[in-house]
Symmetry: C2
Subunit: 311 residues, 2 copies
């Protein structure tokens, strides 16, 4: 039997992503030892109850000692402070990576604290659910999902190869990309959808003419789809908005422009413009399904209240 | 064994809703005879292949003869013309209803063509999937879903009772509501979400800086949720936009106002405002789940590519 890929992996943060990593590392034997750190006492205790790691520390600086892989699994806004705290304790040759949905600002905040004897390679597993915390993780979260790494031109090739192998071991398809291009892509495929979902759920919640119980009762007609993204972790999404501001504002401005045109078509009864847009968008879902990125089952394959599939 | 509720039911239109009605009527024995009509020869042939009814007509006027229940299952923009065509052929005491997502404009278009010896009671089963056509229907579509009837003050109580019993027989919970209030409620829970979904998918499709293959590859990070609603029937949704214009424009304007405030919070780095909205919206999904209107399974319980649940 071959040795695990890493001898000691430190997970800083043990929410949905961190705890999923702990589970898949155990299943795939990717690390001889998994060290878990979070600054919340209750979360750390829960991680220990769940048996997610081998050792547990409130202090991230303790956790990273001797680790050959350190993964920051905290909201992007916290990465800089964590890096500053752990930087002086990083082992020779340690790889430091993260899992945040924004890359340029994380690199900017983290890089100054990484000593020359360690390797920073920022990363982003494009996977998740609307749930958070150590109980929400599961070992198959990364399967058939992309993991984007954003190494800079000085990146150590051996370190990049090893980190790539790690994510492949988690079931992911690894791609590399320029950090700023990552932030633009994610602004459209992830950040804009979340912001729009949060916004529409807020708008519905604020109405005086339609009661909240009506919104809930009739939500199967469309609204409920948006509530999933709008149930995502508030701290994570606040930080994404604050740290990918430029790309998000650019996407919001395009979205609003398009919405104004659509609104105008509705006001002036331009049926052709509406039909043309509504036909074009239909094709895109089929492409997602063909690419294996979406289920073809009606209604996402939701189970009904009796636990039976809708169809 | 008791007699079926209706002796002859005519379905005008045999798409997702019409064909689901045909299937549940057969399963629950709600009609002695089911007559199917659609103006598309190929759709009518397909309905016959599927064995959805007892008799099949291209001409709706033929189909409604002798029917004690006529259900218009066509896009809302087509209801007026169909009513004009079938009006002179309606039987004494026939109940005429529809399934459209807009009520006031349908009543306005249909009512003048219904003779005094028949009963018009507009209706809307709040249920559906993103698929359309006679193959897309299934008998359990209406189960545990609301069906809203919008009778006016002159409505015959016996006819309303019988139609209520019919929808309950299909598995629905029946509610009555004023037509204009219906249109306002649906504008927020259904029409606005569909329009926003169509819009965001269009925005992503138009980008030059992010390729379409990137949008597809990374869609699991949020975008794909919107593609389901944006894959809905274009004719149906064009008609909804054209026939519930005022309520939709009102909701769009509130949505845009809220989005401008959110955009401003992002631009000025107002983390507190973002965190507060993102926390409030999270609670709403839990209420949907508690009310049995949504699945608590992560990611809607989507199956992954291997056909296994994500968790």
């Amino acid at each position: 039997m071959s040795d695990p890929l890493f001898s000691r992996v430190a997970l800083i943060g043990i929410g949905l992503i961190g705890s999923s990593l702990a589970r898949v590392m155990a299943r795939e034997k990717l690390a001889s030892e998994v060290i878990i750190s979070t600054r919340s006492e209750s979360t750390l205790a829960r991680a220990e109850e769940l048996g997610l790691g081998d050792r547990y520390y409130l202090d991230a600086a303790q956790a990273v000692k001797g680790a050959d892989l350190v993964i920051l699994c905290v909201p992007v806004g916290a990465c800089g402070a964590v890096a500053k705290h752990i930087g002086p304790h990083l082992a020779e040759g340690a790889i430091v990576t993260d899992v945040g949905s924004v890359k340029a600002s994380v690199i900017e905040a983290v890089a100054p604290h990484i000593p020359p004897h360690a390797h920073l390679i920022a990363g982003h597993p494009v996977a998740g659910t609307e749930y958070s915390g150590p109980d929400a993780g599961f070992a198959s979260l990364f399967e058939n999902r992309r993991c984007i790494l954003t190494p800079d031109e000085t990146c150590d090739a051996a370190a990049l190869g090893k980190l790539t192998e790690f994510w492949q071991g988690c079931g992911s398809m690894v791609e590399t990309m320029d950090a700023s291009h990552h932030d633009l892509v994610l602004a459209v495929v992830s950040h804009l959808p979340h912001i729009i979902a949060y916004n529409i759920v807020g708008t519905a919640d604020d109405l005086e003419t339609v009661t909240k119980s009506e919104v809930i009762k009739y939500s199967a007609s469309g609204f409920r789809d948006f509530t999933r993204l709008a149930a995502s972790d508030p701290t994570m999404w606040r930080d994404v908005c604050l740290h990918n501001k430029d790309a998000i504002l650019e996407m919001l401005s395009r979205f609003s422009e398009d919405l104004s045109a659509l609104q105008r078509a509705i006001r002036w009864g331009d049926g052709e413009a509406l039909f043309s847009l509504f036909t074009r968008t239909r094709g895109i879902r089929q492409q997602l399904i063909d690419a294996g990125q979406e289920s073809p089952a009606p209604n996402f394959g939701r189970q009904n209240e009796a636990g039976e599939p809708a169809q």
